[in-house]
Amino acid sequence: MTFQMLKSYPSFYALLFLASLILAGSYFFPYWVMHLKAPQYPMGLHMKVYLDHVEGDVDEVNLLNHYIGMEKLQNAAQWERKVAALAVGLLILGGLIVLSFSKKIYFIFYLPPILFLIGFIGDFTFWMYYFGHYLSPEAPVHIKPFMPRLLGAGKIGQFHTQAMFGVGFWLGFLATGIYMLAINIKKKLLTQAST
């Protein structure tokens, strides 16, 4: 990427950098949040799932989960969490390099950010399923295997749960949108240049 190129496609680069910045920023915000409420937790329990770790009342949730034989939350998505930073980095770097040097816009360029978000949802759903279905038979409280709610309100025992995507996910979503816009602008400029 040279200064010449920057000069010829200023809005493209502005948007590309903005998308990269927002995507990088999303790493520091939770992608998914869950609030649990029960009579003996007037202040509620709160969990925030980031791309690489979980924050909030994790110990308390683990403690409650052990009564139904659920695994510790830390055991989920260990591999995914390890490569999360790398994936985001590759996505940004790859995007910057490929889009800057490519003389043509291919359909495949649109896919990585979309796949990234779909991948997150898919992987997350898988782990939700796993945690809800692989319960220790030794546990004092036997409950039917269940699929925890990915989004919206749910109920387990005396707990009312409310799950939603977090700020990080929506930042990722926004970054994807801006990225699309950037590609479209470059595509238009390339078409103009060739005619």
């Binding site: 202040m43 009342d57 110990d59 308390e60 403690l63 009564y67 004092p140």
Partner: protein, 647 residues
């Protein structure tokens, strides 16, 4: 127009509905009042004190628990008892002296044989004469001890015995920045708690005031930097510290300036007569900042391990003056601006007010009217007097509010008197005036008003700490509770008793009321904390690191507690082994406290989230002994148990 009239019609209908609703509400209230026989002022009192579930009190009162050896924490205005803090006496709920090695070390610090105390005067730590909410100090009259309570976790951290005397009353009081905690002797003995026959009372017995140096960073009293001043063997009574203009001075009441000693089986008069004969006793005035310098100078000798300024030195260095104070004095209280010193004698119907500026002048110009028999100069009464106000019979203690009103407890009248201070609070005819009296039930001792002994008092409430309850509560046998009465003192309204709170604990003495927002307590301990040291514990254990280590005849068990299991849940030892169980609560949830009790081994400790405690015992009974969690912690609490097997 049509629409407008339509709206008006709907609105008026709504208003009518609202009126009906409020009217029926009012009649419901009237019905309740009628049924319960409540007057309008009763209903006012109810409205002023009722605190709905989940709402917090704006004030907390730290009340001494008297000879129960504990401190009571009470919310105001609801008068709900929120906590007891065990200090000098064991408490099995909190595992205080019931098997925990940590609490045993603190209790033993005050004497291995002592397992109760007569707790009298709580004193909150102060910064610039205002409560800072960090520490609470208390004394034990029975054994001349002081204790430090940390208000991060509301638990006792240190108990110290005074090496010079064995009985105190004037404790604890703090200097305006909590440099020192004051303790004065009462029923005096020879210095260093040694022997001398009663016939040597005048010659060998001595009074003492001790300045315990408080190390705020460590949260502990530092004995080596503390010092004392020798006093004549009058019975030193209660203390207040100067503040603002009088900062640096200390005032102590005294009785028995007759120097009477007992022997009523051999024609000596009863003590209470012999010690009350004089019309005037001595208010002790001490320049403590000067005394601190004298104590730091090289000349000070140590007696029984403590730096002691002798009486002779104190007179020479002009550290000590007396002022006459009327009959059987008991209260001494310094006004918020520091300029007035209010004393009251139980057998004189006045409060007598001295003025600090005059006092300073009298010292500077050496306006003395003689010396006592130990050579202490007595300042001229008239040269320091500001006012004497007749308030009623048996005046004891005085507290203040932010508008310059003073509230004095009247023991014989069973009442509280409200009166006005002089300038700058009230001028001309409005000054030094008795304004109002309210009856209390019965035999009030101390009273406590909102931050009423500080440089910046609050307003609105006083609590009457009554010694007798007589007919206030249902009969529960010959031993009656005490009665704390909440009194409203708002503005210029007449004082009103709002609430009676029975105290079925022991005779409480003094109390301090602090704005709740000044306190910043922990909700849980940081993980792995020792409550004894308030530092990370060297024997803390994390989940997965539990172990049993045997070395010779000593078995160390590193155990964790979390809902709903104890790990390990089986301990095998041999009879005669020394067993130490290091318990770590690895809970992080608010209120998820566990207990740990072992059957037949006289052990119960409390494990609040994050706390580490050690129990130590000799396995001297063979057999199988369950241990279990004593706090109902979870649905599977009953299952939170294990076995100690002693072979």
């Amino acid at each position: 127009m049509m629409i407008l009239s339509r709206i008006r019609f709907i609105l008026s209908g709504y208003l009518v509905l609202l009126c009906i609703a409020t009217q029926s509400q009012a009649s419901v209230l009237e019905d309740i009042a009628k049924k319960r026989g409540l007057t309008a002022s009763d209903m006012r009192a109810a409205l002023m004190t009722y605190t709905p579930s989940g709402k917090h009190d704006p004030y907390l009162m730290f009340a001494s628990g008297g000879h129960a050896g504990s401190v009571l924490v009470i919310g105001l205005p609801s008068m709900r008892l929120i906590k007891t803090i065990p200090v000098f006496s064991p408490d099995s709920w909190q595992g205080w002296g019931t098997g925990s090695l940590d609490s045993k070390r603190i209790l033993d610090g005050g004497g291995k044989a002592l397992r109760w105390g007569d707790l009298h005067h709580p004193a909150l730590s102060e910064t610039n004469g205002v409560y800072d909410g960090q520490f609470l100090f208390v004394n034990d009259k029975a054994n001349a001890r002081v204790a430090v309570i940390d208000l991060r976790d509301f638990s006792t951290k240190q108990i110290l015995q005074n090496p010079l005397f064995v009985n105190d009353h004037g404790g604890t009081f703090v200097t305006p920045n909590t440099e020192y905690i004051i303790e004065t002797s009462q029923y005096n003995v020879p210095l260093g708690a040694r022997y001398a026959p009663m016939t040597d009372y005048k010659k060998k017995y001595r009074g003492v005031v001790t300045f315990w140096k408080f190390d705020r960073a460590q949260g502990k009293i530092n004995l080596s930097q503390s010092f004392s001043i020798e006093l004549p063997p009058y019975w030193q009574d209660i203390v207040d510290l100067g503040k603002k203009v009088s900062d640096g001075y200390l005032f102590i009441n005294s009785i028995n300036t007759e120097l009477a000693s007992p022997d009523n089986m051999n024609q000596k008069p009863q003590l209470e007569m012999a010690v009350s004969r004089n019309d005037m006793d001595f208010l002790h005035v001490i320049d403590w900042k000067k005394a601190e310098k004298v104590a730091k100078s090289a000349g000070t000798q140590k007696t029984a391990g403590m730096k002691l300024i002798t009486l002779k030195q104190a007179i020479q260095e002009k550290l000590l003056y007396f002022i006459h104070e009327p009959k059987s004095p008991h209260g001494v209280d310094v006004s918020p601006d520091g300029n007035y010193i209010v004393v009251s004698g139980k057998l004189d119907p006045h409060v007598t007010v001295f003025e600090f500026n005059k006092l300073k002048n009298a010292i500077a110009q050496n306006l003395v009217q003689g010396k006592d028999e130990y050579g202490v100069p007595i300042l001229k009464f008239d040269s320091v007097l500001a006012a004497q106000i007749e308030v009623g019979l048996g005046p004891l203690h005085t507290q203040f509010d932010k508008q310059g009103y003073a509230y004095t407890s009247l023991f014989l009248d069973s009442a509280i008197a409200k009166w006005s201070l002089g300038e700058p609070y009230h001028k001309g005819n409005a000054a030094w005036k008795l304004l109002d009296k309210v009856s209390v039930h019965y035999n009030i001792g101390h009273l406590s008003c909102v931050e009423g002994d500080t440089a910046e008092p609050g307003e609105g409430y006083c609590v009457s700490l009554n010694k007798w309850a007589i007919d206030r509560f249902p009969n529960v046998g010959p031993l009656l509770p005490q009665n704390f009465q909440l009194v409203s003192t708002t503005g210029s309204e007449k004082m009103q008793v709002l609430y009676d709170m029975p105290i079925p604990n022991a005779e409480p003495h003094y109390a301090q009321i602090v704005k709740a927002e000044r306190l910043k307590p922990w909700s849980v301990y940081p993980l792995g904390m020792s409550a004894e040291t308030m530092k990370p514990s060297p024997v803390a254990t994390l989940a997965g690191k539990e172990r049993i280590v045997r070395k010779g005849n000593t078995v160390d068990v590193y155990m964790t507690t979390i809902r709903s299991h104890l790990t390990p849940d089986l301990i095998n030892v041999k009879k005669g082994d020394l067993v130490r169980i290091h318990l770590s609560s690895i809970e992080r949830a608010l209120d998820a406290t566990h207990g740990f009790a072992i059957s037949r081994y006289n052990i119960n400790v409390s494990l609040e989230p994050g706390k580490v405690e050690t129990v130590e015992f000799k396995a001297d009974q063979s057999g199988v002994f369950p241990y279990y969690c004593t706090e109902f912690c979870s649905a599977l609490h009953l299952e939170m148990t294990g076995y100690l097997v002693v072979q």
